[in-house]
Symmetry: D2
Subunit: 285 residues, 4 copies
Amino acid sequence: MLIASTIGIAYDVLRWEERALISAFKSLGVNPLLIHVKSEPIILTTNNVLEGSVILQRCMSNYLARASTEALEGLGARVINSAEAIAKCSDKLWTASILMRHGIPIPKVAVAFSTEGVIKVVNEFGYPSVIKPISGSWGRLVSLVRDEEELRTVMEHRSYLPGQNSKVHLVQEFIRKPGRDLRVFVVGGEVVTAIYRVSNHWITNTARGGKAVPAKVDDELKELVIKTAEVLGAEFVGIDVFEDPSRGYLIDEVNPVPEFKRTVAATGYDLPRKVAEYLISLVRR
Amino acid sequence: MLIASTIGIAYDVLRWEERALISAFKSLGVNPLLIHVKSEPIILTTNNVLEGSVILQRCMSNYLARASTEALEGLGARVINSAEAIAKCSDKLWTASILMRHGIPIPKVAVAFSTEGVIKVVNEFGYPSVIKPISGSWGRLVSLVRDEEELRTVMEHRSYLPGQNSKVHLVQEFIRKPGRDLRVFVVGGEVVTAIYRVSNHWITNTARGGKAVPAKVDDELKELVIKTAEVLGAEFVGIDVFEDPSRGYLIDEVNPVPEFKRTVAATGYDLPRKVAEYLISLVRR
Amino acid sequence: MLIASTIGIAYDVLRWEERALISAFKSLGVNPLLIHVKSEPIILTTNNVLEGSVILQRCMSNYLARASTEALEGLGARVINSAEAIAKCSDKLWTASILMRHGIPIPKVAVAFSTEGVIKVVNEFGYPSVIKPISGSWGRLVSLVRDEEELRTVMEHRSYLPGQNSKVHLVQEFIRKPGRDLRVFVVGGEVVTAIYRVSNHWITNTARGGKAVPAKVDDELKELVIKTAEVLGAEFVGIDVFEDPSRGYLIDEVNPVPEFKRTVAATGYDLPRKVAEYLISLVRR
Amino acid sequence: MLIASTIGIAYDVLRWEERALISAFKSLGVNPLLIHVKSEPIILTTNNVLEGSVILQRCMSNYLARASTEALEGLGARVINSAEAIAKCSDKLWTASILMRHGIPIPKVAVAFSTEGVIKVVNEFGYPSVIKPISGSWGRLVSLVRDEEELRTVMEHRSYLPGQNSKVHLVQEFIRKPGRDLRVFVVGGEVVTAIYRVSNHWITNTARGGKAVPAKVDDELKELVIKTAEVLGAEFVGIDVFEDPSRGYLIDEVNPVPEFKRTVAATGYDLPRKVAEYLISLVRR
């Protein structure tokens, strides 16, 4: 059973990130309650048992992050990020929709529900284009299609995938990035650190072999990512940004449970301490 | 391509409900734009092309309802229900969490991520208990488990289901309903009609053979369901309510794209007209 | 319940083929027992109730064809094709293995169980190569990979497919066919008719738009396909044959429940009557 | 690349069984070629490269066992068990069909393709009955249904399983076993050892906690299991046998890649040596 506690960390796997966060909390005099989400059910029967608690959501699995955040909020906890922010960021179409509505520049994107629909979109966006799932991290199933043969191969495979992947298709224009993209970290409405992910491959994800290099964040980008986090209601996020040769910064995706091992290694910035301080400030408020 | 329009209906299948809604709009002098979601991609490139539009979301498939609502909102439309309300109502754990946090009575519920976790919960709730998916309509995969043998059978099968169903398990106490439950319709913050769903089976869903009978909604229930819709940000919903012998009304689930053919047949209430009037009032505002 | 009968047809969908077969039987004075496999369970409790019967297996779904053939054989029926022949022909690796062992020429083929394994094979076969599932008809999930990027896209998608498709990968060299391939029909050890499937697309399947043209079968091919059917134990099959510029005929796949509407239209050959006569001859023997 | 070798073991996981087999071969002066199936593709291009080899198939995963056996046979090897025997034993309906046709006593069994079909069968067999998949080891998804409510729960879940499990349903009468069943091992047409699997649970599988106790095999059973292995073309199998109070021995399932750690522990019989000797005898023949 969970008991009331000031600060907690919900997690499934103890990666470098989670261990660094625990150390950071401890060095600040806080011994966080560790909630190993997978092993314990969360029972929503005792009203407000977590009222006043602040819990950092660190589950690697998106479904665990979402479900445990919802349950912990039901018990009265404030979870960083909130269930609403996680839901919005985990759904790439929803993210795009919200950013677009708030005038934040994003790559051209469309949703289609059939192969014919995808072909229509790509005929408008041009080859190559990118087909991707509505949810998913680490570039999973993000596919470049360079001609109609390849598009049809991808779509036929998608039609046999389980779940919504077989039915909902996100199409994104291909951005001719300068061999890199940006990942910017926002904590509590503040830009704290950023890296370039440099790669020859069109997917620059560091988990896929992209190299992390410290990046400077100019005022334009700063304003953009702060607004992005704000309209999504997110307090601690890693924001992926493309640099388009003509249009400039475009917000691609927002990760609501970001990994940051390589960022810390590349920049030397003590992100775990910053996050810990932010959570502690929320409790003390 | 979608063009700006005052009032629209997004749909996938034209059921009795959608045809009745179209007729209702027409009888009120409005010819709604019909958006057959499945056949056309929605491209998020033209800012605000749907600004000022109000669109009723009627897709039967939850994934289509969610994705098309997000996309239409991205183009500037106001969609009833909003992407946020649909997301909250489509996730039964999230619904429970929000209702609980707002002090609205619900059945005991827990989330577990393993068979052992489910057994722990059921040992607390007692047999029989109900295991159900986090999302899904028409009572799909909602299972009564009457002893541990049956619980293990259900859990073993769940472990082979695709997607999050194999990993996230919602457990709900079994409510000894008086052979019926309630479905109450709320439109624009107003309780408009309600039925009892009467059945000998513990799942009283009319789609599963439950019989629809007109129901009176007393002040207590009225207040409860209006607050339920409000805290979920939902404007047109069907709310399932249990009557617990000792605790009284308990909110079970909230359907953000409700079917209502049997309700109209049982009550004679012109729900399609009411919904049409509500949408028209939003445009004229 | 099934009762003893001389001649039967097991089917799931009544296509043109099945209707033509029924007519053929009737014109030969036989009223075949129609076994709609999907709607009736087959209970293996009455020994030999179908002893002496000959049943033509015509289920479109491979799983229905296999399971119903096994069950009908359990009741004593002779099924054309036998469970063993259907199992061997439905598994493209097994087909290749048997043909190879009997010295029948086939395209180069390999089985791999990982992306790295597939890359090794393709490095040997060269680009383009073909990745395909071990089972499946109508060219389903048969993919041409033209470079490593495309290979990795296909393999990533395969890794998320349900069932063995995510784990067992058949790799076949790409045959530079002269814009056509052959489909030859064998009934009871006799070559009865054949078509070219002419197409600009590398998948020449008529179900995918290939055009059917009557084909002559020379003695070399005749011997090859008769031996193919024989070593697979198959009595009525459609055999797909490639013409390799240098190596000549290569047996690609063998369909144990072949469609033949377009073949009959293109050749005028009365294949349904031939099949009916063959089955009748088996009963009278 | 695989090279010719006299004796080999194809495996995926090195369990106790595989290590014991390797030791047994070595103690008999044979150093078996170890084929780690998962890591290496098998390319079917060099005719007869494995002619004269005898390979023991020990893959734990059924799909790996089947595919690698087919491929190795394509290269000329004799595999124990053959692809044909593995295919027949891995398909519980096919096994039952073959045994029934050869007059070997089995439990009542039926195949159905819909919930209504399953209900028809169970109405004939009576409650409780057993619903199981056509393939699968370790009692996976084998379900006891004690009333129609439980049957419908199981069938609803089956309808959402991926692959043929959602469509093909094996129904077996429930045998009131005397708290145990038998597992008998046959090697090269000879009964070599046997255990009772004793359990209070209706699934007596040792992998599920059943206790292994040495068993005597009387002449009736000996004859039965030898004939069972023979009609399935299997050379090394573990055969599960029920003792029905009135009908006596009934053959339930035949495992073509049997585990035997607990059998060796319970009986002290050196099964690995026996198997090794059998394979060596095949090469020397």
